[in-house]
């Protein structure tokens, strides 16, 4: 653009395009209202699902025992990172616990029966064949769960409970052996045994790892951290529809033909189209972030935690916008009718979104689908945002995603420019 007049022409083109967009109510709904609704709905609707995935199970413990068994379960559950325990004290009953679970306040309830410690000791003494009196059945510590809980999550908590009870059993056996050896079991001695056992466990705590090496304790997004960038990216790429439709309409109405008989370089025509949509993309992400920060908390979900790299967010936004605008321009150049561009543009963005973890978070997908998501530019963008929001990433951490998006956008723009040049001048 060596001619100063071309800058004026570019400015006029941008203003013209902005007027066309602002006066197209349907386009504004698609670009702003739709993603806004998605961010709000999905942030609120997916709260529990994300909480479960991140291992925060709420557990109510009704300790009717007030002895070693109850204490051991409370200590074991409280020290497990994936459970948030609340001990019901006072005059609570099993019915109260069930009521709390049914109301959604808790996912699990543990009922420790009265006299559990005494009965457990009696059972251990019977194992060692020096118990006296009638035989009795084992102590029945019960686990009650929300009916909607997944089986694997139920099994996880049940296993944790069994493990805690096995620890109690182990300790009681120790105490009985000590008693057999003539040691007097005082509270101090009990504490000593407990510490001895804890300090000298023969096996290390098992920490599950996944094949990728991240481990199940890798940080997970909240529903807001997932929804805000996911649906923002979706909306950014959805500009493919209004962008291509306005371009095709210009062609159909003959305005583009008239424009091509004016001394305007094709680059100015394309830039005049691209820049307003680029600006719209920046407004979209700003609006969605604002909704995540300020509106979502008003509706009961937690506020968006967006990490500490505003420069990284800006870089990702710019590169995602390059990709979206480039894809839109390319679609406009290859589609002949608005029906074609709406169908192709809409479908391709939805497929990209489905593959890219926008609609279904990637961590819920099977490995095969997770591998396939690499073909979606929305997936690159989302990974970049999650790197910043969830994993505390900085600019250097999102450079691969930003570079991929920018490269994709520039390739699309190159193809569009080539195609534009092939059409009648």
């Amino acid at each position: 653009m060596n001619d100063a007049g071309n800058w004026t022409k570019l400015g006029a083109s941008i203003i013209k395009e902005a007027r066309l967009i602002v006066r197209d109510r349907e386009a504004l709904v698609i670009l702003f209202v739709m993603p806004l609704a998605f961010v709000l709905i999905m942030s609120l609707a997916m709260q529990d699902a994300f909480r479960e995935k991140s291992g925060v199970f709420t557990v109510a413990i009704l300790d009717n025992d007030k002895g070693a068994v109850g204490q051991s379960v409370i200590v074991a559950f409280s020290s497990a990172g994936y459970m948030k325990t609340t001990v019901f004290e006072g005059a609570h009953t099993e019915a109260d616990v069930k009521k709390e679970i049914n109301s959604g306040a808790f996912k699990f309830g543990v009922i420790i029966p009265e006299g559990a410690t005494t009965l457990a000791k009696a059972r251990v003494q019977r194992q060692l064949r020096f118990a006296k009196g009638e035989a009795s059945s084992g102590v029945n510590v019960r686990l009650i769960s929300d009916p909607a809980m997944r089986v694997d999550h139920r099994n996880l908590v049940a296993a944790s409970l069994s493990r805690a009870l096995a620890g109690v059993e182990n300790r009681l056996l120790w105490e009985q052996f000590a008693a057999l050896a003539g040691m007097k079991i005082t509270p101090e001695r009990e504490k000593e045994i407990r510490e001895l056992l804890a300090a000298n466990r023969p096996f290390e705590e098992v920490k599950p790892e996944d094949a990728a090496g991240a481990g199940v304790n890798a940080p997970m997004p909240t529903s807001v951290q997932q929804s805000v960038p996911a649906w923002s990216l979706f909306a950014m790429f959805f500009i493919v529809i209004p962008l291509s439709v306005t371009f095709i309409k210009e062609r159909q109405l003959g305005a583009l033909t008239r424009l091509k008989t004016t001394p305007v370089p094709p680059l100015v025509v394309m830039a005049g189209k691209a820049i307003p949509y680029f600006i719209i993309n920046q407004l979209q992400i700003a609006l969605m972030l604002a909704v995540g920060f300020f509106v979502v908390p008003l509706l009961g979900a937690e506020a968006l935690s967006a990490g500490n790299s505003p420069v990284g967010i800006a870089l990702l936004t710019v590169s995602a916008s390059l990709a979206a605008v480039g894809f839109g321009l390319m679609t406009a150049m290859f589609c002949k009718t608005t029906e074609q561009s709406t169908t192709f543009g809409g479908t391709s963005v939805i497929v990209f979104a489905a593959l890219g973890g926008i609609m279904v978070p990637k961590f819920l997908m099977p490995q095969f689908m997770q591998s396939l998501s690499i073909i979606s530019p929305l997936s690159w963008g989302l990974d970049g945002f999650l790197d910043i929001f969830v994993r505390g990433g900085a600019v250097r951490d999102i450079l691969p995603e930003a570079a991929g998006l920018s490269f994709f956008g520039l390739i699309c723009m190159g193809i569009a420019a080539w195609r534009f040049g092939l059409k009648p001048r």
Binding site: L253, G254, T257, R258, T261, T262, P263
Partner: protein, 315 residues
Amino acid sequence: MNDYIIEARGLYKTYHGEEQAAVDGIDLTVRKGSFFGLLGPNGAGKTTTLAMLTGLLEPDDGLLRVAGFDVRTALDEVKRRIGLVPQEISLYPSLTARENLAYFGMMQGLSGERLNGRIGHCLEFARLNDLAMRRVETFSGGMKRRLSLAIGLIHEPLLLFLDEPTVGVDPASRLFIYENLKAMNSNGMTIVYTSHYMEEVQALCDEAAIMDSGRVIAKGPMSALLSRRGRGVIRIQTESVPSEALRLAIESLPDVQSAVIKNGLLTIETSDPEAAIEAVMGLLREKNVKLMSISHGAADLEALFLSLTGTHLRD
């Protein structure tokens, strides 16, 4: 000093994947200040020629100079001197009349006082002063056409191309377009006009070229083109569709120059209408063909077109 504003020599264009040339080596010249009609049936190559003349399409071969500049090497210079009024409305419906004029004016390189002055002049010209701030989507077809024409004039071109400018236009707007085009031509603007309306071209243009199958099959001043085909046209409708034998028999009559059957109607060109009518009536009686109607008129472009291409322009 060159008198021609358009000079095309051996202009050739074939579209990708097509075997037949869309424009097959045409020679065409248009004098400065003339009102030039470009005619042809669908597929004749008229649109492709217009696209090359306006710089929308690059010729595969041949020489093309418009407004004194080679289209290949000085396209922007050509574009600054030409205006196009496409067949489509070519406006932005959601912009106002003023915004449309301003946008295309700026694309032509106008700005500041000159742009504002030209916008005012064009609104006045299109009689849309009072509606300048109204969106084009609310305009009637005639108002849109007037605005479209005004946009083609925003930068005061030397040469104006009009592609079917009166399609879908009400009689008042059509008259407006005729009168203004004539006035602009009188003031020195060269106009290249394509239309399916033969009477329009005949009434407005002082020169014309007729294209068919990618070639120019007739060209020259309008008066010369019309005199070339004799003085009159006779149209005959018979009870049944005339046979080829009857057409040949009529064509062999001494005062008949040509006879064409189209849509069941027999069109005869003649240099002596009275003698030809008498001879044709005698032949019909002799062949026992029942006559339904007969009409006679002066030789016109429609008849010329029909005799040259074997088709009506509006087919």
